[in-house]
């Protein structure tokens, strides 16, 4: 298996070639005939949106230089391959934090933009793309565009959440958020039913910057959706905090575990234990930020626990007013299938819109789970879940998908027609070929509005307010 896989190890992919991009100013060779290109950094997307089977992957993991950091305003600029972990190491001691972060700090900035990532603060802060001030986009023609809300706005909105299909992001500039220190005040509350989650979430979202819930997706009908509700707030000026953070120990899964390890019985047992071992009442704590935001990062290569067949992640969002009924139906299907997950997460998204044309988060309730790959059984279950999501006018997250149909994709992302003309003609991905079914008819695309900025791209340097 080559190293250029996705995090779920499904589907397996064999790129035709790998082309490293070492320096942002160097020309990139796009001359191969009949070849498609796709940027790739650390392969943290779960499915096939970061794969380009039989095509060329542009490895941007060497673009990891930080370019500017204004410690007074919190404006940060870096190359696209810089990870959130690298950035946190620099900014947290200076009193700044990422405006939005997903559940791992090992994502690249380019990937965070291309997937318009969200986190536990979506109900207040929205997506990462909302904090992007500007980036430079390299197209296969060799042209370079500085993109922002006001410059090349078409490319800007298409690239945020654009799955790497609009070109290579070389660097990006974004706004950080101020903090008093590295600690998070947390609270964990056990709840016994899905309806209780919605009540807790409505209250907690008012007073907490970060909210999320773990749920037991094996629990029976009477306790459907039981789980643990987790809230967090950055420490305040006067919060009493420990004098130092103990170094975190990380462990690594050294090889693929046997596939039988995670079966329905072991997963059910883990879920039951996790629920019952948590405290009956609310527990409050002060935790270092990385323990709160990135618990899975302590176990390096945790994806290997799913064995060589890998796993499929499923994340959907159900908008109002169908949230509670829709999530209940999804959980019911999952429980009856006997295919469950230990990592099942529930969260309420807020209503702040992202600038990204293909951005996934939208107002509603999001459910994320992962399933060991059991072939057709798993794919059939996820197809049934897709139908429920579709009926509820929801959407499934492309960054975590490896098998949604073209029909479902078009239903979830009606903006795909506006997005398509902005794709770089030499860029593609395994995901994109699958969901467009290679048959983007001229008739369908002819109805798509062409953005004005495409017709007159602006090349001038952008004044972002930082000294050059």
């Amino acid at each position: 298996m080559n190293q250029y896989q996705s995090w779920g190890h499904y589907p397996q992919s064999s790129p035709h070639s790998i082309q490293p991009v070492y320096w942002q100013h160097d020309p990139v060779n796009f001359d191969s005939a009949n070849q498609t290109y796709l940027p790739y950094a650390y392969g943290r997307s779960y499915g096939d949106s970061c794969l380009n089977n039989e095509g060329t992957l542009l490895d941007v993991s060497s673009l990891k230089r930080m370019l500017r950091f204004d410690e007074d305003t919190g404006v940060f600029r870096c190359e696209a391959g810089v990870t959130f972990a690298d950035i946190l190491q620099v900014i947290v001691p200076k009193g700044w934090f990422l405006p939005v972060t997903p559940g791992t700090q090992h994502v690249s900035v380019g990937g965070a933009i291309a997937n318009d990532v969200h986190g536990k603060n979506h109900h207040r802060a929205g997506t990462f793309g909302m904090y992007v001030r500007a980036f430079e986009l390299l197209r296969s023609t060799g042209e370079r565009f500085i993109c922002s809300k006001n410059h090349n706005a078409g490319f800007f909105s298409a690239t945020i959440g654009g799955l790497g299909l609009t070109g290579v992001i070389l660097w990006a500039e974004f706004q950080l958020t101020p903090i008093w220190g590295p600690w998070i005040e947390t609270e964990r509350t056990r709840f016994h039913h899905l309806s209780e989650f919605f009540a807790l979430s409505t209250q907690a979202d008012q007073r907490s910057e970060y909210t999320v819930a773990w749920i037991d997706c094996f629990a029976g009908k009477k306790s459907q959706g039981r789980g643990i509700f987790i809230t967090g707030n950055h420490q305040h000026k006067d919060t009493l905090t420990p004098s130092s953070i103990a170094p975190r120990r990380t462990m690594s899964v050294p090889f693929n575990a046997p596939s039988f390890l995670l079966n329905r019985h072991s997963l059910r047992l883990c879920n039951t234990l996790h629920f019952h071992l948590s405290s009956r009442s609310s527990t409050r704590n002060i935790e270092p930020f990385d323990t709160f935001f990135y618990p899975l990062d302590r176990l390096l290569h945790w994806n290997r626990l799913y064995g060589s067949r890998g796993f499929l992640q499923y994340q959907c969002v159900i908008p109002p007013p169908n949230q509670e009924a829709g999530i209940a139906e999804l959980l019911d299907h999952i429980r009856r299938s006997g295919q469950g997950s230990f990592l099942a997460v529930l969260k309420q998204f807020g209503s702040r819109p992202s600038p990204g044309l293909l951005s996934f988060p939208r107002e509603g309730t999001t459910l994320a789970l992962d399933f060991p790959n059991r072939g057709e059984d798993t794919v059939n279950l996820l197809r049934q879940l897709d139908d429920i999501v579709c009926e509820c006018s929801g959407a499934v997250y492309p960054a975590k998908d490896a098998r949604m149909s073209a029909q479902h994709f078009r239903s979830y992302f009606p903006n795909w027609k506006t997005f398509s003309p902005l794709i770089d003609r030499k860029f593609s991905s395994s995901f994109w070929r699958r969901v467009t079914d290679e048959d983007l008819s001229a008739q369908e695309l002819s109805t798509a509005p062409i953005l004005n900025s495409l017709q007159s791209p602006q090349h001038e340097e952008l004044n972002t307010g930082l000294p050059s």
Binding site: R65, L67, R68, F69
Partner: protein, 88 residues
């Protein structure tokens, strides 16, 4: 800490310099390509370097070596010597 790096845009030089940058080192960086040198200098600055001098130069030009050393000493005051073990 004052550090002169010849070939500052090589991968190993960049990664090593990051550690010194976190400790607030002063750098005198030498490499051929001005744009790449500037990118490396920016990175070290953000990571905590105190002072950085960029000195674009092709070290194949032996006649300017003396001038280079003088410029480094002039900017940094004195230099620390750090030699990696060489192959025999």
């Amino acid at each position: 800490m004052n550090i002169l790096i010849l070939g500052a845009t090589s991968a190993i030089a960049q990664e090593t310099a990051k550690f010194w940058a976190q400790e607030g080192a002063n750098f005198f960086l030498v490499a051929r390509d001005k744009e790449k040198l500037s990118a490396v200098a920016s990175d070290l600055q953000v990571r905590g370097a105190s002072q950085i001098v960029e000195y674009p130069l092709d070290l194949a030009h032996i006649e300017v070596h003396q001038q280079l050393i003088q410029a480094a000493i002039h900017n940094l005051g004195h230099l620390m010597s750090h030699l990696w073990p060489m192959e025999p």
